[in-house]
């Protein structure tokens, strides 16, 4: 029951609108894989969706970012003031999740989906999770969260560096998710 004793403190906090247009049209109740490194498209899509209004049931989205990159860097670069950001790292602290603690990781994401019907999750650092766990265990986490996403109006975005996986692993990872493809390099 270890992981249940630590309740994730994921506050529902909306970012103020930037006054810019929506650039990514991702369907609600779906999870997306972006094959890229560094995760520029994933972060751009995440920030764009939680900072712009949306037509339909979810007028404004709340975000949750889990990343191998330090939260201070993410807040500074992407102007995120309210969004909870968890750091995947082997340190202790309130907003840190150890890469080996897949229970806490799953619980954090599932709780967020349950509490935020229009949530957007960015899971950045899946390579780091795989380097600290069996691939199948990490896949189980992704599949479990994906099941919750499918029954909600939430969205999950997972950047994946294809160089870190073999073809079978990549296929298993992408099996139940949409793929965001940008055919050319970023400018």
């Amino acid at each position: 029951m270890g992981f249940l004793s630590r309740k994730p403190k994921v506050k529902k906090s909306e970012e103020s609108g930037l006054g810019i247009t929506r650039k990514y049209t991702l369907a609600r109740g779906r999870s997306y894989v972006v094959e890229e490194s560094p995760p520029n498209i994933s972060f751009d899509a995440f920030v764009n969706i939680i900072s712009t209004p949306e037509a339909g049931g979810c007028t404004r989205s709340v975000g949750l970012a889990i990343s191998r990159q330090h939260p201070d860097f993410i807040r500074q670069k992407y102007g995120l003031e309210q969004t909870p950001i968890y750091w995947l790292a082997t340190r202790t602290g309130q907003e840190i999740i150890a890469p080996t603690n897949l229970g806490i990781l799953t619980h954090t994401m599932v709780s967020f989906i349950d509490e935020n019907p229009c949530g957007v999750i960015l899971l950045d650092g899946i390579e780091y999770l795989v380097s600290n766990n069996d691939f199948t265990k990490v896949l189980r986490v992704v599949d479990q969260v994906n099941d919750h996403i499918a029954q909600s109006k939430s969205i999950m975005i997972i950047p994946v560096d294809p160089r870190a996986f073999d073809l079978k692993e990549l296929a298993l990872l992408e099996r139940n998710m949409e793929k965001i493809v940008s055919t050319s390099k970023s400018a």
Partner: protein
């Protein structure tokens, strides 16, 4: 349709132009600072200008105002490598229609061009 890319990084301009050509826009011009951008803008009258908000000398916000003073119907898209809400607000208040985070990509670029090219 003519498009102008204003950025002090030659490498960025080169890749941005490649991206624009790739998504079907071939009349692309470039400028590296305020003065050369104003000169190209006055001469070529581009319909859309992508302007880095952080330029050497006069800023992208000032350039936006200068461009729109020449052609109020032109579309200026602000760009920056970080999301600075104050800077984005200033850009939009100066008349920029939208904002692109650098590095940008084909998906975001296509979306902006679809929105503002008509």
């Amino acid at each position: 349709m003519k498009i102008l890319v204003v950025d002090d990084s030659e490498a960025f301009r080169k890749v941005m132009i490649e991206l624009l050509v790739r998504v079907g826009f071939h009349e692309v011009m470039e400028a590296e600072n305020f003065d050369s951008a104003v000169e190209v803008f006055q001469r070529e009258k581009p319909k859309i200008s992508f302007v880095d908000m952080v330029l050497p000398g006069k800023s992208g916000v000032e350039l936006t105002r200068a461009m729109l003073a020449v052609d109020p119907k032109a579309t200026v898209i602000a760009m920056s490598s970080i999301i600075n809400k104050k800077l984005i607000r200033e850009s939009l208040e100066a008349g920029a229609k939208d904002f692109l985070l650098k590095p940008t990509n084909e998906i975001a670029l296509n979306s902006v061009l679809t929105m503002w090219s008509d």
